[in-house]
């Protein structure tokens, strides 16, 4: 029986999780002027169009998770 933990697709998801955590750690401890998540979010929120698209994407994700998933 294949367990959830050994599925190849799941392993790739774990790789992305580790990569994201590693990158956030680099951002937290690096003294170099890197672009952090706050700057990325502020960039997205800095115009009406991008802000509206972000809110629309947020709503679609909510609809999918709470009205389509179990």
């Amino acid at each position: 029986m294949t367990t959830l933990a050994t599925e190849p697709g799941l392993v790739v998801w774990w790789v992305w999780v580790v990569a994201a955590v590693g990158w956030l750690s680099v951002l937290a401890f690096s003294s170099r002027p890197l672009v952090g998540p706050g700057k990325v979010v502020r960039w997205v929120l800095s115009s009406w169009l991008s802000r509206f698209l972000l809110v629309a994407a947020w709503w679609v994700v909510g609809w999918h998770i709470f009205c389509q998933r179990p």
């Binding site: 697709g9 992305w16 994201a20 800095s46 509206f52 809110v55 709503w59 709470f66």
Partner: protein, 144 residues
């Protein structure tokens, strides 16, 4: 005001946790919250309105086009962000197209959490927090 909103969000998340995806309450609440988010975004951002969309797009194109002139630290971090975001979206799309239990989509993984009332409630609370940040993020911008 913040305490009242927090209490309302906790009550809403607890209530939502008990609902199923097919229930009218789940659908109506997500619809109403979405409409309220759009209204609140416009109302809160009206006087502190962000820059024009055209200027935003032009600035983005200018920065992307002049990538050679960017400082190394900035260039590397932008590349890593692009890689992470494109990688997650690409892998999710690939898993969706393959349609195999061996390649679960992000949606399937979230479904393992949202099928339990506590997980559904916590996810709903997190979704609300992200929405509030996206809607009210303009409050940090200077008033024009």
């Amino acid at each position: 005001m913040a305490a009242l909103l927090s209490a309302a969000a906790i009550w809403l998340s607890t209530w939502q946790g008990e609902l199923s995806r097919d229930s009218t309450g789940a659908r109506r609440s997500v619809e109403v919250i979405g409409a309220a988010a759009i209204v609140a975004m416009v109302a809160l951002g009206w006087r502190r309105r962000p820059g024009s969309s055209r200027a935003w797009a032009a600035g983005t194109v200018r920065v992307t086009g002049g990538w050679r002139d960017q400082p190394n630290a900035r260039l590397i971090s932008l590349l890593v962000w692009c890689l992470l975001i494109a990688g997650v979206i690409g892998w999710d799309l690939f898993s969706f197209l393959v349609q195999s239990p061996s390649f679960p989509t992000l949606s399937t993984l979230i479904g393992h959490v949202s099928r339990h009332p506590i997980g559904r409630g916590l996810l709903f609370g997190s979704w609300l927090v992200v929405g509030v940040y996206a809607v009210a993020g303009c409050r940090s911008a200077p008033r024009r």
